[in-house]
Point group: D2
């Protein structure tokens, strides 16, 4: 196999980020993008990068015989049909999270992938973050013994646009899904039960859609470990992404990344700059490395480090949390079958 | 009022610590101690401190007309009768936590205190810790806006003696009760609901007594804030006592205290010594300051900074957590009335 | 002006780093490299990057009419003649530090640059480091008032190869020259006097060449500030690059960058990984940004952020330090004229 | 020997601190204080502590047969005659630093001590600081190999009263003398040569007395190590007391102590409180432990951990630094004999 020829479906922010990372790889050629809004802005953007083909319709992109792999960066409701279509066309797929908002659909997508024998990577970029990778290495090496308690804090600097809140699928499916995946990644164990509580403390808008802006979820893992995740839609000091694993032989913690190490001491106190502002800054390296890993797996025919089942399991936990919040009781993940949202 | 004359009931470790702190205060005279084991060891200990009177029976101590205040440092089951007795005798009382293990008894003790018009301070020493006091100051000053999420981590370096586990009242009443009080202290709000989960991950012994050694509790506060507490009976790196408050205008966190600031960088990594080992080291200043505060309140007839109701509310939360763990569902604190353990 | 066409003289490690950074810039085309060793390894390297022209002789590269700018990454003794030659050919120059090891030669190079009206940037990459840039911003903004004391620590993880020690020009000209530049950059003032002391504590080899492997230099600045720099050729824990500025209104300090934020607490202590190992890791961003800045200045005809005079002044300080170590007395920089090494 | 009976000469701030620490020791009885100003304030202070004897004249105190040890906390010019007098009277002596401002006088005091066979401890309290003790332990254990570079930063929060500046003996003898002692303590080696530079950057008043308010001193040690000390009379963020030792196997550093561990993150940045404000807060534990060590050595007839020779060597370094600043050249300590200030 020579270069991997890639097409990108969805030219929003994340589609463009992936394109830019892919274009810096010698092993890759980005040959096409598709977007339902394929106006002059996108043409300028593509021509500056020598991306020659722009499609208004993803069918044309998936139908291109020269394309080896597609990146699905369009809205969530399009993911499953696009995966099925790509699978049938024999293209490998990188799909943004979540695969879908109901397990039955995600299941269908995974089945299509299985039958076609293609590779499907889900965009859990945080698995590739330098801090979390090192943390997991320590857990796997036994540095801290058996994990007893996993703690994940994940807060955004500011809430998404109201239009997005409406279609986001709610805090568990949209935001905490990353943390459910992180919990599985770090613990090396499946989540068996969740208990969710939450509140609307930032913006009443969230109530309108039956959503919360602040949420806490307690986890029980198959290996006996316990855990919790806390999410907030608004941390005024910036993106707050921390994980801690407490185990029989010690504790391992990851704190935020900062733009610099300057510390200022004055008569008022001792100060440093805020952490890196949001996911584009904090996870720049992770976004780059996840597409590298995907391309490497395709070229070398090696297993993906995050696959369709990882997408499915995180969705299952998100749905269980949603149900738990609704019914006010702990919910076992095996209660969550093919049910829709 | 001249010096406050104090008698100490229970000459175990904590009784002796209080005695030593009291004896360094100019405003106090420690005139007597009582302990059911009042052998030569205690006599030597007392005579080295010029504490002249040692009683085998606490009745004699409480009955001494010259004593203004008693410190109740004996086993938990003796607390309520001793408080009642002291109240009737018109002595102010400092009582170790918990007041009792059932709300009805604690209620009786509080009623006796109220009728006698004496002061009752409960030994929630952590309220006086320099770190937590500063944290609370920030919360009260509005530095971080309205509290949204309170996170408390509290881990002991090693489990208590098996004999103690049996009578401890369980992890919620024995250990997490401090954290329930901390949650109220820091948030400035009442706990309305708890959900508890836990496991036996350190020593099967805990199972024998229906107890767990690792526990997580989710909290909902009256002011809308959420919270959680995680406890472990064994952190091999020492006493782990941290609190974090996330709010609408920022985040405030307290980390552990360390014995020194030395940082060593070698070919193997960058290292520092472990945190202060256990409560005697970490809370030395807090133990001193809580007895100072008690004496000051008595002398100046000012309100106590931690009173009987604080004891009651923390017990209520502990019982709710116990119930929650047992029934596997969230429990509202108003479900917890005068019920026994 | 369209793209800046660049030729790189010297295909060692640093020449290749610059080439890779330049090739990721849309505004740049790397059209040629030259190296006296231009064998198959270099051809492979260049062909993987589509760099078509490889010269054995830098004359051919400088003589190419299509080249706008040359990067001089060859050995120090070649710098001045190459700068003169490039200046006469009207090419802008990016030259690695030091320009030369005697002020007379450096002066000739600067004069050639002045007469030709070209731009000359000296490779003081650390000025572009995110930490030091932020530090300087604080100093310039007056965050810490007037600078009183500048402290610079700079230690390499391991000594250079013995062959290099011989021709390095000594610790002041080879290594501390970066710190002299940093001192000027951060203080915003000229160094007026230095006092150097040093010792051979790591490897006796350094003695053979009249060099030291551990050195401390005290600085006096024109604005009254004081400073010192300490250098070591071997810090077993990795690259140690710290700066601190103490001023009338406070203190600003920069510590090292680390590969991750993971902190491990075990029964043995609290540990994190070592700092980024060496200049390639620590200054990756700075290397990228210095070539960006150079290209931007050429394209926009704006002043360089580090120019030939900066090279000259740092060399002057390095020579003064060398003299100070030799004579065992403080040396004023105005004692150091066109003298040779 | 029963209790050690102590008399304190000089009832200023430091005399009172020592008295309070001594009075909390079971092995000690503070029987007398003397001060040339022994008015009602001192009488009140003493009577609150049951110190019965107050002398206007130190002769009376030293002449008291029941006194075992005297603490000399009066002005520096009185130290040597008082040591001689106490030695003749067979009293052990704890003397504040410096012993005197000229080596001849200090030498006389040490000779008197030697002839009388008494113990003389000099008040280098920082040797007892928990951080510096741990640092030294690491150096002695070989954790960081052979010391190569010792770095000491020592800054006061604000300059002393102008009246004091006049008689202080200058920054080297008054302030940096602590750091010279620290350098010897940590390195385990003698200082052989110093080079001093300094400036008046804070208050022109210092110039009037031929003094500087900002000073840097380079050190060469007998074991080949190098070092430097920087002092400032005014760090607006509080007392800045840091030490770093770089060695063949690593680096060990001590940073400041802080009043609490609270860290606040807001939209403006990440902040903590300033370090402990001044020596009374930072060295409270060290002040307590130095008098404990003195009393223990007397009771157990064990060697002092800081003795008269330590006082002498630090003074020698301070005088060498003064000379170096004056003559603008490095000064070897063996150039500094019995010379007066």
């Amino acid at each position: 196999m020579g270069k991997v020829k890639v097409g990108i479906i969805g030219a929003g922010r994340i589609g463009k980020i992936h394109a830019d990372h892919l274009m810096k790889m010698n092993e890759v050629e980005v040959v096409a993008m598709s977007d339902i809004f394929c106006g002059p802005e996108l043409q300028t953007w593509c021509s500056a990068r020598n991306i020659e083909r722009i499609y208004a319709n993803s069918d044309d992109l998936i139908g291109s015989p020269d394309i080896d792999a597609v990146f699905i960066c369009s809205s969530t409701d399009t993911h499953v049909p696009l995966i099925e279509q790509a699978a049938q066309a024999g293209k490998h797929v990188f799909c943004e999270k979540p695969v879908s908002m109901d397990l039955a659909s995600t299941g269908r997508a995974l089945e299509a992938v299985r039958q076609a024998g293609i590779q499907l990577q889900v965009g859990f970029n945080r698995r590739f973050d330098h801090n979390f990778m090192r943390l997991r290495e320590h857990v796997q090496n036994g540095t801290i013994g058996d994990p007893h308690v996993i703690k994940i804090t994940s807060r955004d600097p500011s809430p998404p646009h109201p239009d997005y809140v409406k279609v986001s699928g709610g805090i568990f499916m949209d935001m905490m899904i990353h943390d459910f995946d992180m919990a599985r990644f770090i613990s090396g164990s499946e989540i068996e039960e969740v208990y969710a509580t939450g509140n609307v403390l930032i913006n009443p808008l969230f109530s309108q859609y039956g959503d919360v802006d602040t949420a806490i979820v307690t986890l029980r893992f198959a290996n006996g470990a316990l855990g919790f995740i806390d999410n907030s839609r608004q941390a005024v000091y910036g993106y707050d992404q921390r994980v801690e694993v407490f185990g029989s032989q010690g504790n391992a913690s990851v704190t935020n990344d900062y733009p610099n190490t300057v510390v200022i001491s004055t008569a008022e106190g001792v100060t440093r700059d805020k952490p890196l502002h949001f996911f584009l800054e904090r996870y720049e390296q992770a976004y780059r490395d996840e597409v590298h890993a995907f391309i490497e797996s395709i070229l070398n025919q090696t297993p993906l480090s995050v696959n369709g089942n990882d997408g499915l399991q995180a969705e299952r936990a998100a749905l269980a949390a949603k149900w738990s919040l609704h019914y006010g009781r702990p919910v076992r993940l095996d209660e969550i079958h093919g049910l829709s949202e």
